[in-house]
């Protein structure tokens, strides 16, 4: 798995790759600032702007996904397949889950809204298992 096709795409620079690896290795949903911290451990000179540039590049290349909730900063997700999210109203934790039924509602939603559908996404708000317990 070493030299597979490292340089076949000259656009995957060391900085972009560092950002990509940071996201791939985490199972949570880091913010740009989390990613900056972690990327700097691999590539000490990397700048904040480059992290944002890399995130945009990776997003456009379909390698990572951005998740936006108004609460605060965008999160980034290594999972690029369609899936849904639950957010804890108590501690803010964000978890992924896959509900196949959601996809089935895309056409109905398009009909109601008169939009041409591109993607659908279901968000559950509630209380996460940890917060349930400690209350």
């Amino acid at each position: 798995m070493k030299g597979t096709k490292k340089n076949s795409d000259p656009k995957l620079t060391p900085q972009r790759d560092a950002v990509f690896q940071v996201i791939r290795e985490r199972e949570d949903h880091p913010t740009a600032s989390d990613i900056f911290e972690a990327a700097r451990r691999r590539l000490p000179g990397i700048s904040y702007a480059t992290v944002y540039n890399s995130l945009r590049y990776l997003k456009e290349a379909g390698l990572v996904r951005e998740i936006c909730f108004g609460d605060s900063a965008s999160r980034y997700d290594r999972e690029t397949e369609r899936h849904d999210h639950a957010i804890c109203d108590c501690c803010g934790k964000l978890v992924d889950f896959h509900l196949p039924e959601t996809a089935a509602l895309m056409q109905a939603a398009a009909r109601k809204s008169k939009f041409k559908a591109q993607s659908v996404h279901l968000t559950l708000r509630g209380i996460c298992p940890d917060c349930k317990e400690s209350s």
Copy 2:
């Protein structure tokens, strides 16, 4: 409809009421800054901070709803019943629609995520009718 119960709740100050009326009269989804502009026409001295304070109060009182999409500023919505949103990937337009099937997925989502469900919300991303036409 004049003195109905104007002062029955001392907490609905003139500022909060101005903010509330601004939201009620609009059928779109204004940002805090839109609301500030409009509220200032009613109450010229109102400050930005008070608009935010009022929005928080109204939200907590269940009189308006906040809609957050990462794109930029939060929007506020006079519709407090459960409903869904479509966002145009092209022009950013946000429209409401009601898809009864969404509510039915809440329990399934809670099961998958192990959260205690409080609300569900479906978001459709796509192209709005206007952008469809002009392309």
